[in-house]
């Protein structure tokens, strides 16, 4: 009977194998973003960042905006602060840039390129 069956596994789990909230940094704007995963190799060509992940043997090419996000995602800023800083750089409101930044950060975390950061709090 359906009620007795185990639920299907969540294809997008919010917790890693050790119970860590792996997507939390991109869901809550008061959480830090980054830093880059230590194993990722980074290089830059004309201001655009390229990343090589030796564990997945994959290369990611970031455009100019994603490259700016990458540089700001050093683990010292919350997602909210990152959005505000980037909006200031481009001279637009945070609301205009929030969906793109959030999506980019989510993608970088999902690919294991950015480490999930802890919530911002007292040291």
């Amino acid at each position: 009977m359906a009620a007795d069956q185990d639920p299907a596994p969540d294809p997008f789990p919010s917790e890693g194998p050790e119970g860590r909230h792996i997507l939390e940094p991109v869901r809550a704007e008061d959480q830090r973003v980054g830093p880059p995963a230590p194993h990722v190799v980074e290089t830059e060509v004309e201001g655009e960042v390229s990343l090589y992940d030796p564990r997945r043997e994959e290369v990611a090419f970031l455009n100019e905006t994603a490259s700016r996000i990458w540089r700001l995602a050093d683990g010292t800023r919350t997602l909210k602060e990152l959005i505000e800083e980037l909006a200031g750089t481009y001279g637009i409101s945070p609301d205009e840039i929030r969906p793109q930044v959030t999506e980019t950060v989510r993608g970088l975390v999902d690919q294991g390129l950015l480490s999930p950061g802890p919530p911002k709090g007292p040291p």
Binding site: V41, T43, E46, E48, S50, P54
Partner: protein, 286 residues
């Protein structure tokens, strides 16, 4: 049968063949001929005369049979090419490569994308010939290792280049760069340009592209990045930073080569600043 020895991209090999085959092979592989026979080549290919043609053998295993020299030689050179590129210790990318004023110009592309035709067109235009097959980069020095193999051209390419004898049909032929009046690069040289070609009937034009596109295509069309992935990643980035990146849209390879010649002239538009031209340059396809 006598033996002749060659070294291609660091791979040493010998060919035993009847005299007419040896003579033609020597002409086609002249840049790779070793002055003295070396006793321990990496492999020995043997061409045997049969009643109905030739057989190409490696350690008594028949690799292929061909009715005549015209059929045999392209396949023999293709076999040598395959082994040489496979054995190359550097970073190799599918690309046509030519040079001018001491700087290499790479045009990456997959099989069947027109690399050989573009390389031949550039050779006819006056560029120094480097390869119609592979951009070969040394990991240590970052320099381009010349690989001036004979250019393999099919009947359609020969027609496009104005080299066809007018007869319909025909097989792929090997053209020695010297037959096109081209000089061949002999020494390693720096990569100066990465040109990303795209066939389109709209016209012939060159347009600037971000350097990251060059890096992406160098990795995309690499033969062997999987062997040293991180080093390949770093080398591709280094080459993209050091080169100018342009897209080349074309239909007629001779027009494309002419435009490339104008753009890469010391006083040309793409040379006049430290950056690629800010707007595209080109000519309408006639």
């Amino acid at each position: 049968m006598k033996e002749v020895a060659y070294r291609v991209l660091g791979t040493w090999f010998a060919v035993r063949a009847p005299r007419p085959i040896r003579a033609e092979l020597d002409r086609l592989l002249a840049p790779f001929r070793l002055p003295l026979h070396r006793p321990a080549p990496g492999f020995i290919l043997v061409v045997r005369s049969l009643s109905d043609g030739y057989a190409l053998e490696d350690e008594a295993v028949t690799l292929l049979r061909a009715a005549g020299p015209d059929r045999l030689l392209p396949r023999l050179v293709a076999e040598v090419n395959r082994r040489a590129v496979e054995g190359f210790r550097g970073f190799a990318v599918h690309a046509a490569v030519v040079a001018r004023d001491g700087a290499a110009i790479a045009l990456p592309g997959g099989s069947g994308s027109g690399k050989s035709t573009l390389a031949a067109a550039c050779a006819l235009e006056g560029f120094t010939y480097v390869s119609d097959e592979a951009l070969c980069l040394d990991f240590e020095t970052g320099l381009v290792i010349p690989y001036p193999k004979p250019i393999a051209l099919g009947p359609h390419s020969l027609r496009l280049l104005g080299l066809s004898d007018g007869k319909p049909g025909g097989e792929e032929v090997l053209v020695a760069p010297a037959d096109l009046g081209a000089e061949m690069a002999g020494e390693p040289l720096p990569l100066g340009w990465v040109i990303l070609p795209r066939r389109d009937p709209g016209g012939t034009r060159l347009e600037p592209l971000p350097g990251q596109r060059a890096m992406a295509d160098l990795l995309r069309y690499s033969f062997n990045h999987y062997r040293r992935p991180e080093a390949s990643f770093r080398l591709a980035a280094q080459q993209a930073r050091a080169s100018r990146t342009l897209s080349l849209t074309y239909q007629d390879p001779r027009r494309a080569a002419r435009l490339l010649w104008e753009a890469t002239a010391p006083e040309g538009p793409a040379h006049s600043s430290s950056k690629p031209p800010s707007s595209g340059s080109g000519t309408p396809e006639g």
